[in-house]
Amino acid sequence: MADVVLKGVQKNFGALAVVHAIDLSIVHGEFVVLVGPSGCGKSTTLRMIAGLEDISGGTVQIGDRVVNDLPPRDRNISMVFQNYALYPHMTVRENLGFSLHIAKRPKDEIDKAVAAAAEILSLTPLLDRRPGQLSGGQRQRVAMGRAIVRHPDVFLFDEPLSNLDAKLRTQMRVEIKRLHQKVGTTIIYVTHDQVEAMTLADRIVIMRDGHIVQIGTPLDVFERPMNAFVATFIGSPPMNLLPATVHDGQLRLADETTMPVPPGISVRNGRHVQFGVRADNIMPDGHAMPPTAHMAHVDMPVTLTEPLGTETLLFGTLAGTEVQAKMLNPRPVKPGEVLRFGIALDKCHLFDAETGASLRA
């Protein structure tokens, strides 16, 4: 039962600042995902909340306590590590019960808690094995079980799925979400994988170079990215960005192709911008979503196709930039074939060419 509040939290390694005075409030029961490219400070932030790194500035508050100077053991948190971090010399049962054993809880209480956690994570048949005899997915479940037996205020996950293969990762993602629904504890989850962030989070915190770039619900950050970095980082495939200039309410791309400025964006003449369009919003005629009120059309040669079954990803070149588009109800497309594409302008974005900031009000 605890909110987590970060106020001006900083981390310096010597003269090098890796986290710059970030502010973040997480309400009780929320599932917050810190996401960003490697080196953005997300893991360091998590480790400061855990107490595994000293806090160079600012305060971290869990519940109503400022925990800056408390060792990890007094913060009532649990952590799941990237490399599982199981105790190799203990059985699964001992791993799960270790924190309660340290807390000197009575044996029958430990047994009960371990059995309950094992039940939730389907570990019951594995209780007497050692970590060395488990598969990666099973080890990760033990790590999660170890975290839940103590009923902590906050769960911290540090890239827990990045050592698993793709199929298992999808499976474990679902299990983590289910676990959150079942136990309802606050979760702070670090990942560099935007798909994990989108699928798991109540709110996503996007970090870059030690700063928080944007905080919002998954749909928020997907539909209303605050800058070009978020736009290209969130969503798969990444948003296409095309350099353009504004002339008389029209966008002019590098090859003099023109189209109207997306509706709802006001921008002065002569401004250099980046035109952002997701693959979902640029589709060949006859294989597209129903057209919206604001469509633009371009002819584009297709250079490469990636059939995905229900849709095909088309790679083409528009105004000298490689663009990814989507084709619904796909038909075979030969490389070099020129298709006519419709662009749903009301779903498109403009970013300042220099700062990358979104020009949507």
Binding site: L52, R73, F81, Y87, I102, R130
Partner: protein
Amino acid sequence: MYRMRLPPWLVLLMPAFVILFAVVAIPLVLSLYSSFTAFQLTRPESITRWVGTFNYEKALGDANFWAAFGRTVLLLTVALNLEMLLGLGLALMVAKVTHGQRLLRTMMMFPMMFSPILVGFQFKFIFNDNVGLLNNALQSLGLTDVAIPWLVDGNLAFIAIVTAEVWTSTSVFAILILAGLFAIPQDPVEAARVDGCTPFQTFRYVTLPFLMPFIYIAMAIRSLDVARAYDIVQVMTAGGPARRTELLWTLIGRTGYVDARMGYANAMGYIAILLSIVFTVYFFRKLSAARTSLGMGD
């Protein structure tokens, strides 16, 4: 002309066979054989005087032999445990040092760089009841005004020998345990901290189990060393006075080379070697159990 053609594999292995025979097989067989004879170094022809198991029976019935045997086991136990504790402490401290750690690690090896004979002489001087450093220091500090007979009293002499052994060889433990400390994965240690462990509990439940294989390797090496302990003791007390610090190999050495009763010495030697084998097997078992429990396989 007839020439014997040996198969090529035999020809190629021949140098190895010759060397092995010369340095291992022949001495082994010869010493084993001589332990069943009344062989005396001063009378070479006595090597043919077969006496059966007489030497072995004599050794097993000899109170002096068993006293030396027991004292060797005691030295092994005391020295190894002390060295383990001190080495562990030393390694834990050195692992915390950030600046100048390389230098410290090198300095830690210094005691191993001296010949045990010289170490023996040095400690013989330190513990000398008359001119020794220790007694002079104790007297100057006013802690005592008698000359403590360090190397004369049986128990005190044993302490003096243990001190010398520990001084020379603690670094074997320290170095191996330090290597172990560097090899410990950080994740479980951090997990333990989050799981509620105090620093001591983290050490007790996570760090120490990871160090056990390294400790057992050091134990195995050192148990062989101490089981054949000879040089330091020979220099410091020569097993005396009046056999009060007699170890297996000082006894065997004297029987073989001073009393020239090599047949009897060899018989005792073979019994003594059993001790080394038992300890080695024991520590290797522990080692492989510790490794298995850490999931390192064996």
